[in-house]
Subunit: 133 residues, 4 copies
C-alpha cells in the first residue's frame, strides 16, 4: 500500500505535465481532482472527451497503487466510458473511484466523474488493470 504523500511524490517525479491532485486514497477507493485549463477544453468550451478519459484512467491508477503499492507493475487492459452530460469548462473534474475487484492478476474499478460543485455525473468509466507479479 502507498499513502497519499508517497503517490503524490511519485507522480510529481515521474510525470512532469501531471495536473491531478490526490484528495483521498485508501480503502479500495480514490478521490482525485483534475485541473481544467485551455488544453483540456474542446470547441464549444466544454471539457474534452480525452481529458475525461485520462482523468478516469489516472484516478483508477491512484486507487490501485493505494492498494497494492508502488513496487508492483500494473497496466491498463481496458477502459469503458460513457459520457453523460457536458462538463462545465470552468470547473475542475472530480473523480470518485471505487475498486470492485482486487484480484491477484486483475483489478477492476469504476469511476464517477463530476464537474466540481455539481453532483450529477458527467461521465462514468469502468477500467480493468493487469497486475504483473
Amino acid at each position: 500500500m502507498a499513502t497519499k504523500a508517497e503517490i503524490t511524490a511519485f507522480f510529481e517525479k515521474e510525470i512532469p505535465h501531471f495536473n491531478c491532485i490526490i484528495e483521498e486514497v485508501g480503502n479500495h477507493s480514490a478521490l482525485t481532482r483534475h485541473l481544467v485549463g485551455e488544453r483540456e477544453l474542446r470547441f464549444g468550451g466544454t471539457v474534452s472527451g480525452p481529458t475525461l478519459m485520462a482523468a478516469a484512467d489516472v484516478s483508477l491508477y491512484v486507487a490501485i497503487i493505494g492498494e497494492i503499492g508502488l513496487v508492483t507493475q500494473t497496466a491498463t487492459t481496458s477502459l469503458n466510458i460513457n459520457f453523460l452530460r457536458k462538463p462545465a469548462g470552468d470547473k475542475d473534474i472530480i473523480c470518485k473511484c471505487k475498486l470492485i475487484k482486487v484480484g491477484r492478476t486483475l483489478i477492476v474499478g469504476e469511476v464517477s466523474l463530476y464537474s466540481e460543485g455539481d453532483d450529477r455525473e458527467v461521465a462514468h468509466a469502468v477500467g480493468t488493470y493487469a497486475v504483473f507479479q
Copy 2:
C-alpha cells in the same frame, strides 16, 4: 411511469420463459431477482456468463420502463459487462440497477450483480438504451 405490478403483468404476458421477479422499481432504480436453475448453469456448476448478461439487460429494462412507462419504445444499444467472481450455482442472481442518465433519446444505467446472500459483486454492467419518441 409504470408500477411494479404493471411491469410484472407485462413480462408475464409478453415473455413466456421469463424467470425474473421484480422486487422493487422506481426512483431511477430497480431491484430484480433472476431464478437460477439447470439451464442457467455452465460446466463447473457456476452461473453462465450469458445468464448474467441477460439478467443485467432485463434489470436495466425494468428500471427504464419504471421511469418512462410501457408505451414508449426503447432498445438496448450497448452493454458492457465485467465478470468479477464466480456466482454460486445454487443461489438466485440479484441485480441492483441505477439509471445514471435519463435523457430524451438516450438512457444509461449501471447494474451490480450478486449471488443472493453475498454482498460481493459477481459482475458489474453498464448499458445504454435508445428511446424512440
Copy 3:
C-alpha cells in the same frame, strides 16, 4: 489446439441445450452459427439481445479453445457489445470471430454478428478472457 470435431463433441457432451454449429475454427478465428427459434426471440419478433450476447460469447470461446486447446481453463472477464440493426427473427445468427491478442494470461477477440444471408452487421462485440495456467 482443438479441432472442429473435438470442440463440437465437447459442447454436445457438456452443454445439453447448446444450439450452436461450428462451421470453421482455427487460425485465430471462428465461424459459428446460432440457431434461432421461439426462445431466442423477443417481442417484436426480432432476436433478443441476450441471444446475441450469448452467441458472441460462445463464438469467442470456440475461437479460443481452437487456439489453446480444451485442457487449459479460461473464463470470460469482460464483454462489450454494440447492437447495430434489428436481426431478422427467422434467420440464424452467424458469428465471425477474430482473436486480436493471444497472450499467456489474457486473450482478446472481436465478433461481428449477422443475420444469415445479410452482410450488414447486426451487432459487434469485443470480449476478454483470462487463461489460467
Copy 4:
C-alpha cells in the same frame, strides 16, 4: 460530407494543440496518424493509454465528419478500448477507423491502432456518437 482538406483546415483552426494528420477519409472510414513526442509517453517509455484513447476518439470523429459533414453536431457518447500490446515510444500511432453503423441519430465505429511500421494492433476501440439533427 467533408473532404480531407476541409477537415484538416477545420482542425487546424479549432484545435491549436492538434497533432493528428489525416491520411485518408471517406467511404465510411478514416486513416489517421497521431504524432508521438515527449508529452505522449508514460514512464517506461511507451505511449500512454490516454494518448491512445485520444487518438481513437479523434480518428472516429474524422471518419464521422467525413460522412456527415462539418455542419451537423455530434458528440461521443461512449468509448470502449482494449490495450493489446505496448506501443513503441519512438513511432507515431496509426489509426484505421471503420464506421459499422451510420444511423440517423447514432453512429458506431471501430478503430484498430498500430505503432507505425508494425502490423500488430496495439489497441482496439469501439466508439458510439450521438448525432443532433
